[in-house]
């Protein structure tokens, strides 16, 4: 297990750069995580991130389809917010583990 400094906090991350403990997350951490993916976070991004964190907390499986039906963003919008691998990138920035779903 590695530790990396984001926004002044020593954060535990796994080999792929996903946060191990989602409780270490805050908005400043998210901004720095997003920078590594070349994404500048807007309010819309944060709405999606909060949605993902809530889903993960309640133990639901994350799918692109579910995010498209969340009412926050449609699927096209989700791809625009997090280009080139939206679910992988959004979960990383949201401080949760990498999703294991195939859809």
């Amino acid at each position: 297990m590695e530790q990396k400094n984001y926004a002044g906090i020593a954060i535990e991350i796994n080999e792929e750069g996903y946060m191990v403990n989602m409780d270490q997350w805050n908005k400043d951490v998210a901004v720095e995580l997003a920078k590594e993916e070349d994404i500048e976070l807007t309010d819309k991004h944060f709405e999606v991130l909060e949605y993902i964190r809530n889903k993960v907390k309640s133990g639901d499986t994350l799918t692109i389809r579910a995010i498209g039906k969340s009412g926050i963003v449609d699927i096209k919008g989700f791809y625009t917010l997090f280009p080139g691998g939206p679910l992988k990138k959004a979960t990383k920035i949201a401080g949760v583990s990498k999703p294991s779903s195939c859809v």
């Binding site: 799918t63 449609d74 791809y79 691998g85 992988k88 195939c102 859809v103």
Partner: protein, 167 residues
């Protein structure tokens, strides 16, 4: 843990030539998965695979209950082939497959095509098979970008780290 790939896939071109639920869904799931990974994705439907993008047929895909040795009863007992001959059995089995997939958040075909194109994937139909089945572009889903010849399909499949997958 998956090792970091040194030469990640850049593009996949997936060909679907069959029209049963499992053939079409294998194609759609692989295509959508590629789009989700940020891989450039082209889908090419030909022969009976055209059912998946034909407006009239896409909601009526079936799984074969005859000549399908992997078919089982719910619970795992073998499925006698003669049962599959009874009218309505194939439709029932197919409806069951679809409801099982819906539970896993796997969408119906039309919505799946929309998900793939929303993520930048492109969907094409085979010209020769269209001519054979007397289909016109307007018979196809609005998500179909174009009708291509084999040559045009290969042109789309060029470039480094591209794979062609035949499902």
């Amino acid at each position: 843990m998956v090792k970091k790939e040194e030469h990640p896939l850049k593009k996949v071109c997936i060909i679907c030539a069959k029209g049963s639920i499992e053939d079409v869904y294998a194609t759609l799931i692989m295509a959508n998965g590629a789009v989700m990974e940020g891989i450039e994705t082209n889908l090419f439907f030909t022969f009976f695979g055209l059912d998946a993008i034909t407006k009239k047929q896409m909601k009526k895909l079936h799984t074969a209950t005859v000549g399908n040795p992997a078919m089982r009863m719910p619970g795992g007992l073998p499925f006698p082939t003669v049962l599959g001959l009874i009218p309505g059995v194939e439709a029932g089995v197919s409806a069951m497959m679809k409801s099982q997939m819906e539970k896993l958040d796997i969408p119906p075909v039309d919505e799946f095509l929309e998900m793939i194109t929303a993520g930048g994937g492109e969907i094409y139909a085979c010209k020769l098979a269209m001519d054979m089945f007397k289909l016109k572009k307007e018979d196809l889903s609005e998500h179909v970008k174009d009708v291509l010849t084999v040559g045009q399909f290969y042109e789309l499949s060029g470039g480094e780290n591209t794979q062609i997958i035949f499902t």
